[in-house]
């Protein structure tokens, strides 16, 4: 399991190096290869961030679907902000609600919380155990299950397959 983390870390570093340098010369590639081989060994003593990451075809398909949903939600969030900011009456109805998540892995929860932050009218304030506390600009329901259905589920169904 440690080697899986190491490999993912190495490939991420190497891809970022290639993108930053924007060239395929042998010297540049070799230097990047060396640095990204050594760095994870030094810094990644007991990495377990990527342990639950799944590479089955279904997970890869779901990753793309997740990305698509996420970008659509990001645009919706911005038009939502624009509408609220520009209307003279400032239509807000804020509150902090509690939602539950089924995700177990740390990285899955982080990505869920980040996605919630960038979707229309919600952001994550605090994470306690398996409940997320969310500031909602337009509270539609104070019930835990109802707000879980409205806020979390659209992302959770993808993240469950990707990270478990």
């Amino acid at each position: 399991m440690k080697w899986k983390n190491y490999l993912i870390m190495f490939s991420m570093l190497f891809v970022i190096w290639l993108l930053l340098n924007n060239s395929l010369e042998a010297e540049v590639m070799l230097l990047g290869l060396g640095v990204s081989l050594v760095l994870p060994l030094l810094l990644c003593g007991k990495c377990e961030v990527f342990t639950n990451l799944s590479f089955s075809p279904k997970a890869i398909l779901y990753s793309f679907m997740f990305l698509f949903t996420f970008i659509v939600e990001l645009f919706k969030a911005n038009f939502d902000v624009a509408r609220r900011v520009l209307s003279p009456s400032l239509p807000i109805n804020p509150g902090i609600v509690e939602v539950k998540t089924k995700l177990k892995s740390k990285i899955g929860r982080v990505i869920l919380a980040d996605s919630i932050t960038l979707t229309p009218g919600t952001f994550t304030l605090e994470l306690v155990g398996d409940s997320l506390f969310i500031h909602w600009i337009d509270v539609k329901s104070t019930d835990v299950e109802e707000s879980t259905r409205l806020i979390v589920e659209k992302f959770e169904k993808y993240l469950e397959v990707m990270y478990g």
Partner: protein, 129 residues
């Protein structure tokens, strides 16, 4: 000719991004409290910055790699920083606006506190015996 077209497309996308940034900053002025300001600020600044960078890509296609890394960086760090700011604001007890409808986190903390107080009492009692 083709080059010109790319420049126009890139410029249009970058202007779209800056409009979102402008709306976000209007939101910062108009919203009533810290939390609602963060709501407006985070979303607008994320998409605004991303669109500006995508527009830049159309004008300078050679910068693809660096722009990709920048977009990724903005996408990862922006929500994290706004979450941290909001959390810090909440824990130093910056008040929510008056029209706030519900505060589940406060209820949660109160339950926690009363349980802790109870546990402390039980402990003191045991030590006394």
């Amino acid at each position: 000719m083709d080059n010109n077209l790319m420049e126009i497309i890139g410029g249009a996308i970058a202007i779209g991004g800056s409009i979102f940034l402008l709306l976000g900053s209007i939101g910062l002025i108009r919203m009533p409290d810290v939390y609602n300001r963060i709501q407006a600020g985070t979303k607008a600044s994320t998409l605004g910055t991303m669109l500006s960078l995508v527009g830049l890509f159309f004008i300078f296609p050679g910068w693809f790699g660096k722009l990709m890394v920048l977009i990724l960086f903005v996408l990862i760090t922006n929500p994290v920083s706004s979450h941290t700011l909001a959390r810090a604001a909440y824990f130093i007890k910056i008040p929510l606006t008056k029209i706030t409808k519900v505060d589940k986190l406060k209820e949660h903390q109160e339950i926690d506190e009363s349980r802790n107080a109870h546990l402390r009492k039980v402990k003191i009692k045991k030590e006394g015996e």
